[in-house]
């Protein structure tokens, strides 16, 4: 339902690297995505995969893919899993000069896991139960530089920023609180709305929704709000 609405994908397929320490899961995602894309033109193309932090950094540096599907918990590195991969690949750019983008894929809903990868620089966070079709949409979104929020992540953001308790930023630039509009968008995403539906509900364009979500992502990455830093500190991310 949402794939159809997004503008026609770029003529060149999105180059994807899959990082997960479970071979069965990698095979499964590959098969599902291939099947989901079999109807139309291939949206993405798998150029590599890796089972641990060091192999992932090597593959990403070599292939410079558009999007990396990244598991949060990975062996190797300095023990921070996905966050280590993102740090290890800092500054890597694709052939056409865009930064490599990361979409975190995890079985976990634990707040500190979410915070860990998002603050390390991931552009989105989805759980592994996501349907293949939604995953394709998410990959395309991340490749375009937008952010991808699952309902659960949106709920977590509302909680962490105190927005559910009524704390609202007076200026948009404030990093530690959400603006009223951002709060509305997050609430709708938490209710299970697709970006398109959010746009319709709020009488704004999908592009504006994407802008709001990206701005929330930025706040999530840069905010020094206590709830966020506490988790980040516990994992030595800041």
């Amino acid at each position: 339902m949402s794939t159809a609405s997004t503008p026609a994908g770029p003529p060149v397929p999105i180059r994807v690297v899959l990082v997960d320490d479970h071979r069965m899961f990698r095979t499964g995602v590959r098969a599902e995505l291939t099947e989901a894309m079999s109807a139309g033109a291939p949206v993405c193309e798998f150029v590599g995969e890796a089972p641990d932090v060091d192999a992932a950094v090597a593959v990403i540096r070599r292939e410079a893919p558009d999007v990396v599907l990244l598991d949060v918990h990975l062996p190797g590195g300095s023990g921070h899993g996905g966050a280590d991969v993102i740090k290890g690949c800092a500054g890597v750019e694709t052939a056409d000069g865009k930064p490599v983008r990361f979409l975190a894929l995890s079985v976990s809903d634990a707040a500190e896991d979410v915070i860990a990868v998002i603050r390390a620089g991931a552009r989105g966070y989805v759980t592994k139960t996501i349907t293949a079709r939604d995953l394709v949409t998410a990959i395309r979104r991340v490749a375009d530089g937008d952010a991808v929020f699952s309902p659960r992540l949106a709920g977590f953001v509302l909680d962490a920023f105190g927005a559910a308790a009524g704390e609202i930023a007076e200026v948009d630039e404030e990093l530690d609180r959400l603006s009223a509009r951002e709060r509305e968008v997050m609430r709708l995403i938490a209710r299970g709305y697709q970006y398109k539906e959010v746009a319709k509900e709020l009488f704004i364009s999908v592009k504006t929704v994407e802008t709001h979500v990206s701005s929330v992502l930025r706040k999530l990455q840069l905010s020094s709000r206590h709830e966020l830093t506490a988790w980040a500190m516990g994992r030595r991310l800041v």
Partner: protein, 420 residues
């Protein structure tokens, strides 16, 4: 909440496996100070954790020592200067190699010596005379104790504590204890005759007994504190035990899934139930009591999921105590969810926001949708159990038809007396 497989049975199983790993001696935490121990440097805390005794006990010991020739102050400063801050994960520090340990012990002794010499030089300058004959024996005692304690390695120490000691360990302990004893004797006699010492000891003893009587109530409280800490430790063990049981339940579910692999719906349901249980355990802990509204609505969603095998994606933010209005909301939400899984299509999503301005709950499905006015009047489902119920509790409900599905919105005002 019953799950398809019999977890109840595994849970009730007597804690026979509680001492399942007697071979592993409990690891003694390393002598390091926690980074955030408050405004004190955390020396007492570190020592207490290392020795596994009450922190207050250590504090008392330091204070008592401080009055006996200032040894407590010296020891405190010494430990402050010499113990590391909790920089690395505690487990890695425990596995230091022997040579490193010995080196650190040398550094420890050297540092202690410097501190003592410094104190001896410093104190007379302040007008207080502390003779070396006081400080030195105290220092010997301390060194003896440290040697006896620290040279025993983890396993030996626990073996020694449980009775059976190796020969070498005995030698070290005897050495340390002997040193300490010599120190005490030197401290007491200090060149006086034995009978004088005897009188002094008698006097000291009577003072001690008096002090004990005075301190008894306080000691009792100390003891009860200690007991409480012990109970907490037991709880932690219990928790670890249940985690082990969880592994059993996961394996059991996997076996069930393999046996029923022909029935995709059963497999989904089993997997979902197991996933949920594990998640609750991992991220919420056992404190998920029914006393909170968030826990109640979560349970409702899980129940519906179990009944129909349709996954419900629930997101809850905020929380508040569970009272009758909340109960009404969670029951109405149950009804809405049941409608969604029965008449709608997956994915069914639910979002509950509990804030100072009240509670809002949204249940959404992707079905064909239904028209409230078209529902015959004798069908009580939506009208009574959702709309009527919330209105009776001062809230409101709305059913919205969307182009791809239905969304039920439930609202409750804040609890009376709550700041808005």
């Amino acid at each position: 909440m019953p799950t398809p497989y019999e977890t109840a049975a595994t849970r009730v199983r007597p804690v026979a496996g509680a001492g399942a790993d007697p071979a592993l001696p409990p690891r003694r935490p390393p002598l390091v100070r926690a980074r955030a121990a408050g405004w004190t440097p955390g020396v007492c805390d570190a020592v207490a954790r290392h020795l596994g005794v009450s922190r207050r006990l250590v504090q008392v010991a330091f204070v008592v020592l401080a009055f006996s020739g200032g040894a407590g102050v010296a020891a405190y400063l010494f430990l402050w200067a010499m113990t590391a801050e909790d920089e690395v994960a505690p487990q890695t520090a425990g596995s230091l190699r022997w040579s490193e340990r010995r080196r650190s012990a040398l550094v420890l002794l050297g540092g202690g010596l410097i501190v003592v010499v410094g104190l001896v030089l410093l104190v007379p300058g302040l007008g207080v005379t502390v003779r070396g004959s006081v400080i030195l024996p105290v220092f010997v005692i301390a060194v003896g104790a440290v040697v006896a304690w620290s040279t025993l390695d983890e396993a030996q120490r626990s073996r020694w504590l449980t009775g059976g000691a190796g020969g070498r360990a005995w030698v070290r302990v005897t050495l340390g204890a002997g040193l300490a004893l010599v120190g005490i004797l030197v401290l007491i006699t200090r060149g006086r005759s034995v009978s004088v010492v005897w009188d002094a000891m008698l006097a000291a003893l009577s003072v001690l007994v008096g002090a004990l009587i005075l301190a008894a109530p306080w000691a009792v409280r100390l003891w009860s504190d200690f007991r409480r800490e012990q109970v907490a430790a037991v709880r932690a063990t219990e928790r670890a035990d249940i985690a082990a049981h969880l592994h059993d339940s996961v394996l059991q579910t996997l076996a069930l899934i393999q046996r029923q692999s022909a029935d995709p719906q059963a497999v989904t349901r089993l997997a979902r139930a197991q996933e949920r249980e594990l998640r609750t355990w991992l991220y919420a802990g056992p404190q998920g009591s029914q006393a909170s509204l968030a826990a109640a609505v979560t349970e409702v969603a899980h129940e519906v999921e179990d009944l129909h095998g349709v996954p419900v994606d629930l997101v809850v933010t905020g929380d508040r105590p569970f009272e009758q209005h909340g109960a009404a909301l969670s029951r109405a939400m149950r009804e809405a969810l049941l409608n969604a899984v029965r008449h709608g299509a997956a994915p069914v999503t639910a979002y509950v926001e509990i804030g100072p301005a009240g509670v809002e709950a949204f249940v959404r499905d992707r079905g064909a949708g239904f028209d409230l006015d078209a529902v015959p009047g004798d069908r009580l489902g939506v009208r009574q159990s959702i709309l009527g119920r919330l209105e009776r509790h001062g809230g409101s409900a709305r059913v919205r038809r969307r182009e791809d599905g239905t969304e039920v919105e439930l609202r409750l005002p804040p609890i009376e007396g709550d700041p808005v």
